[in-house]
């Protein structure tokens, strides 16, 4: 704690912290209030005298009903869920195997491959999206979920691999050696001994991968065109705006509901998420 007078504690700690938290969380509050605010209040200019920004006295579920009933939002949610889960599964599978190989096996070019995988993490999607769109079209994957399920691992695997390498390195090699002496093949030693011990790491990587998939935008924007194939971020952006008119109520409802799955996963696994984040940064 900050030593000294109580006022010092308030000035140097509570107030700054409070301001930070307020600034960071206010937009979400705004999202929530807008979602339940009726249209007539919503479209009241801020100069008008009865502008009540921070609360509403007539909350309504109309926007949510519109979103769920009149748009393809449910489909988008399902699409996004399916794509995120599939991409996460693929990435974890590849990441676990690759992370194990790079951190516990000795073979030629190990260093080079590790660096190579690390570098691909730093090739952003915005660099590849134009030629990749072409390739997706050539593989006849355009406008299908597979376009995303197969391309998302390109930025998920390097991250998962890197994260899991850190966890694997921390497992003493004697465990594996003992298993091999006990009669296990290298493969069995990996599956029965190393993987169970690395479960926290695998969980962290999986949750991180899920959140990153859900957040992806440009590939989904470019590779998908039919409204029923879209993911939540793309659907909300493209279908809730007609020309120049923004349907703010349903838009905010979409933003709010679209964030819920990720927020839920996050809230159950906060420790794992933070561990994943900090593990990746500490290398």
């Amino acid at each position: 704690m900050i030593e000294g007078a109580k006022w010092r504690r308030w000035v140097f700690f509570y107030i700054p912290l409070g301001v930070f938290i307020f600034a960071l969380l206010f937009p979400f509050y705004w999202m929530m209030v807008t979602t339940v605010r009726p249209d007539n209040e919503l479209y009241r200019p801020w100069m008008a005298p009865n502008y009540t920004p921070f609360w509403t006295l007539h909350p309504t579920l109309a926007h949510i009903k519109y979103l769920l009933g009149e748009t393809l939002f449910n489909t988008w949610m399902l699409n996004t869920l399916m794509i995120s889960i599939a991409a996460t599964v693929i990435s974890l599978f590849c990441g676990v195997l690759a992370g194990y190989a790079l951190s516990r096996l000795k073979f030629p070019f190990a260093g080079g491959l590790g660096t190579g995988i690390f570098i691909t993490y730093l090739v952003p999607q915005t660099l590849l999206f134009i030629p990749l769109a072409d390739i997706i079209r050539n593989f006849r994957l355009g406008d299908t979920p597979w376009a995303l399920i197969l391309t998302y691992p390109t930025f998920l695997i390097p991250f998962c691999t890197w994260l899991l390498m850190g966890y694997f390195k921390a497992i003493p090699k004697e465990l594996e050696e003992c298993a091999r002496i006990d009669g296990a093949t290298r493969w069995k030693a990996m599956v029965y001994i190393i993987l169970p011990v690395a479960v926290p790491g695998i969980l962290s990587a999986g949750i991180f991968a899920f959140t990153l998939s859900w957040n992806e935008f440009i590939y989904a924007l470019v590779f998908l065109s039919s409204p029923q194939e879209k993911t939540v971020p793309v659907g909300v952006t493209s279908e809730l705006i007609r020309g120049d008119v923004f349907f703010w109520g349903p838009l905010m409802a979409g933003a709010l509901l679209g964030s819920i799955p990720v927020a839920l996963v996050y809230s159950f696994f906060v420790e794992h998420y933070v561990a994943g984040l900090t593990g990746s940064v500490k290398g």
Partner: protein, 363 residues
């Protein structure tokens, strides 16, 4: 017949020649200890027998099979590691059963063997616990139990007692010895602690810089070390060494330096005669140095100033200044001495060792 034959074994890592031409014959049911300072190659040799390191050149035979290219799982060996290497996500029972499951033994047989091992080691109470709930000594037992249930042809031990506290270490040493006589299985044990080597081994192999220095029964190494390294390594406190000049006297040879004038007994004198006029290294163990009484011949005595007195209860260690060198004497607890005293000490003549100063070999 589970003998282990090591023939001309070599290992090179990144240009470092860690194990140099090691030859060993370990007989069936024998308990052999590999001992030496860190980096002497003992652990690498053990790991090559286990199959955890590849063999650069040479052969390892277990039974009568060359195992060079067999993976560890097919060599029918069991190993106990320094930090136990217990599977943290499995209970004690499952830890012990793992190897048997890998060999596809049926549940009933597995249960029998685990119970047997648990009985021998007194572990019945914690079969269901996880490793993190056990103390260091208990974990070591589990590691042992895991090795025992496998009924292997050879046991391998990699410094298993180093992580235990001193008292526990002494206790476990005794238990290991009892265990070995009960199980009668060939065992290779690696340690840096010469006390463990002396107490546990049927035969002891002293290694240094990747090479075998001497192989023999413990007392053989103690009484007849073949070089200065083995002489200094075995025994605690270590042997005293002094560089002396040999000179011929009318009734035999004499060894001299600034503080000592020792008459060399006739039996050894013969071997030392070629060294007349040259320097040799003389060695005498602290326990063979005692306070002189009137009847000791002058040619076997020397004067010294007491620097430090260490009272252990069972004996007293005196750090002595003899001329321009230091020596340690381990004397009877009844001796009264204090710092600064000048006393006369006598050596046991039959316990003198001499070493060539260049080759370090015993003369």
């Amino acid at each position: 017949m589970a003998q282990v034959l090591i023939r001309s074994l070599n290992k090179t890592f990144d240009g470092v020649h860690a194990v140099k031409d090691v030859n060993l014959e370990i007989r069936d049911k024998e308990f052999v200890v590999l001992v030496g300072p860190s980096g002497c190659g003992k652990t690498t040799t053990l790991r090559m027998v286990a199959g955890l390191e590849s063999i650069s050149s040479g052969q390892v035979l277990i039974g009568d099979t060359v195992v060079n290219n067999l993976p560890p799982m097919d060599r029918d060996i069991a190993m106990v590691f320094q930090n136990y290497a217990l599977y943290p996500h499995m209970s004690v029972y499952d830890n012990m059963a793992f190897g048997l499951k890998m060999r596809k033994l049926d549940r009933v047989e597995i249960g029998k063997r685990v119970q047997q091992a648990a009985d021998i080691l007194g572990m019945q109470d914690y079969l269901k616990r996880k490793p993190r709930q056990l103390s260091g000594g208990q974990r070591q037992r589990v590691a042992l139990g895991r090795a025992i249930v496998r009924h292997p042809q050879v046991f391998l031990f990699d410094e298993p007692l180093s992580n235990l506290d001193a008292k526990l270490r002494v206790q476990m040493r005794v238990e290991l010895k009892k265990l070995h006589s009960r199980l009668s299985t060939t065992a290779i044990y690696v340690t840096h602690d010469q006390v463990e080597a002396m107490t546990l081994g049927d035969r002891v192999v002293v290694m240094k810089d990747g090479m075998v220095q001497q192989v023999g029964e413990p007392l053989e190494l103690y009484n007849a070390p073949i070089n200065r390294f083995v002489a200094g390594f075995i025994g605690s406190p270590g042997m005293n060494f002094a560089t002396v000049r040999m000179s011929g006297a009318k009734d035999g040879l004499r060894a001299d330096n600034a503080g000592l004038r020792i008459d060399v007994p006739a039996e050894i004198g013969l071997r030392l005669s070629p060294y007349a006029g040259r320097d040799v290294t003389m060695g005498i163990r602290p326990e063979d140095v005692r306070v002189a009484n009137g009847s000791d011949p002058a040619g076997l005595c020397f004067d010294a100033v007491v620097e430090v007195v260490e009272k252990l209860g069972s004996e007293i260690l005196l750090d002595l200044q003899v001329g321009d060198q230091t020596m340690v004497a381990a004397v009877d607890p009844t001796v009264r001495a204090k710092r600064g005293d000048k006393l006369r000490f006598a050596l046991r003549p039959d316990r003198l060792h001499f070493f060539d100063t260049t080759s370090q070999a015993a003369i």
